[in-house]
């Protein structure tokens, strides 16, 4: 479904992605991990063109998404993206945040969009917060609203960049629980995370990046076994 082929990216003279080739199958959940600065965010952001690439191709269902002819906004409506810092719109209520894409991309009226948005909020367990402002809900709730907003246009792909890293420890669980449910419902997911428990139990495959290179790619069984890549072993022991 998503196909990286020889993808490289530079910031000026610094090469931050090195010749990355890999595939994500439809419905798969991929966890991206690796040391800080290894290029996880950058790679995740190339998939919805928040970052351009200088070499290689990224195809979704066979379409080269970095091609000039690609309509970038149409591409992005088909890909949910969740940020570490939530990035909710602070001047809009929770339900208005979730509804905005329906109103401004699907051109629905408020009245048409409202039931869909409320249903989506119910899905993430926050129907009762519909009229709250983002400043008045917790971090975990904010991230669940951000996930609801990213899913409102029913994207085929969901990308998350460290969705739980900005959360207080007691709120990590509620977000991971939601992601686990979404994963089992069959959405194609790429998640950058340091939550190795989540990676072990939920992901289909784990990608390990180091210095912009996809050094190792394995199913969780192998990834966490003693036969894993030596770099992974070093990385795993460094985060525990």
């Amino acid at each position: 479904m998503i196909e990286f082929d020889g993808v490289s990216k530079w910031y000026g003279a610094v090469r931050v992605l090195r010749n990355i080739s890999a595939k994500v199958e439809k419905g798969e959940t991929i966890v991206l991990c690796g040391p800080s600065g290894s290029g996880k965010s950058t790679l995740a952001r190339t998939v919805n063109r928040l970052e351009p690439i200088q070499e290689g191709t990224i195809k979704i269902d066979g379409t080269d998404i970095h091609a000039k002819s690609m309509n970038v906004n149409a591409l992005r409506t088909g890909i949910g993206f969740v940020f570490q810092q939530f990035n909710l719109f602070p001047h809009l209520s929770v339900v208005d945040n979730v509804m905005l894409p329906l109103q401004r991309i699907r051109q629905q009226s408020r009245k048409e969009a409202l039931p869909t948005a409320l249903l989506m909020l119910e899905r993430v367990g926050l129907a009762d917060k519909a009229n709250a402002l983002p400043a008045d809900i917790s971090g975990g709730q904010s991230q669940r609203v951000a996930i609801a907003r990213s899913l409102i246009l029913k994207p085929q792909v969901l990308i998350l960049d460290e969705p739980t890293s900005a959360l207080d420890p007691e709120m990590v669980g509620e977000v991971l629980k939601l992601l686990r449910e979404l994963s089992s419902e069959g959405i194609t997911m790429m998640c950058v995370t340091h939550e190795m428990g989540f990676a072990r139990e939920v992901s289909d495959r784990i990608w390990f990046l180091r210095n912009g290179e996809l050094t190792f790619e394995a199913k969780p069984d192998l990834f966490f076994s003693s036969n894993t890549h030596p770099d992974v072993r070093g990385f795993l022991s460094s985060i525990h």
Binding site: A74, R76, N87, F89, H91, L100, P101, R104, S150
Partner: protein, 236 residues
């Protein structure tokens, strides 16, 4: 002083009105508020061009801002008053001339304030809008501007005080605003410049001090529910 107020108080407030043209403090306020209202959309466009992606728009907007900031307002007023009628072939009322000059001048300054408001928003706001697939119009008008403008409300109110002070330059082209009226009073009452210009100064002071108090009150209110970070730059 009281004597002067008794005799000329009404004139100070409304000029010759109702026997002649409206003037005095009322005209000063009308000119100032009209200037701000007309400046506002121009300033928003300049700010959007300054902070946007399009190079030609950026170049035109920053060229305009730099030119305007390099000349005194008085010169713009001279141009609008003496040169513009020759260019367009018919005369314009001095009041409109003054408003036009203030609008051109203030568009540059208010534009910079609003641009600072836009740039002060966290990068994540723009990225989140992009990631949702929102186009330029909804991103600008639903996400960026509501937050940026809210954050620079104090700067906008502050600019109104600047405009009120600047409108006194209208006295040079015989716009019968507050300063002009008091100049006339002074030529009637040649022996009391201290009192007359004392009253003039006090009137401006009360007006502008009240507005600047309102500005800092707004600043505190907004700081407490600020939507994203911002640098409010008071350019005067």
């Amino acid at each position: 002083m009281l004597e002067i107020l008794r005799e000329y108080g009404l004139m100070l407030l409304v000029g010759e009105y109702p026997h002649g043209k409206l003037g005095g403090l009322a005209l000063t306020l009308i000119i100032s508020i009209a200037s701000l209202v007309i400046t506002f959309p121009c300033a928003v466009m300049i700010a959007l061009a300054r902070t946007g992606q399009s190079r030609p728009f950026k170049a035109v907007a920053s060229g305009f801002v730099h030119c305007v900031r390099a000349v005194p307002l008085l010169m713009l007023i001279f141009w609008a008053y003496f040169a513009l009628p020759i260019v367009i072939g018919f005369p314009i009322d001095a009041t409109y001339t003054l408003i036009l000059a203030i609008v051109i001048y203030q568009a540059a300054y208010l534009g910079e304030i609003i641009a600072a408001g836009i740039e002060g928003l966290s990068k994540g706001q723009m990225e989140a809008a992009k990631a949702l697939g929102l186009g330029y119009i909804p991103t600008t008008f639903r996400v960026i501007l509501p937050q940026a403008l809210f954050n620079v409300i104090p700067g906008i109110v502050n600019q109104l005080t600047t405009i009120i002070k600047e409108s006194s330059l209208g006295s040079i082209i015989a716009v019968s605003e507050l300063s002009y009226v008091m100049l006339q009073v002074n030529s009637n009452e040649v022996t009391k410049p201290l009192q007359i210009f004392g009253i003039l100064a006090a009137t401006y002071f009360i007006l502008c001090f009240a507005l600047s108090q309102a500005t800092s009150w707004l600043e505190r209110g907004i700081a407490s529910k600020r939507t994203g970070r911002v640098v409010v730059e008071a350019v005067a």
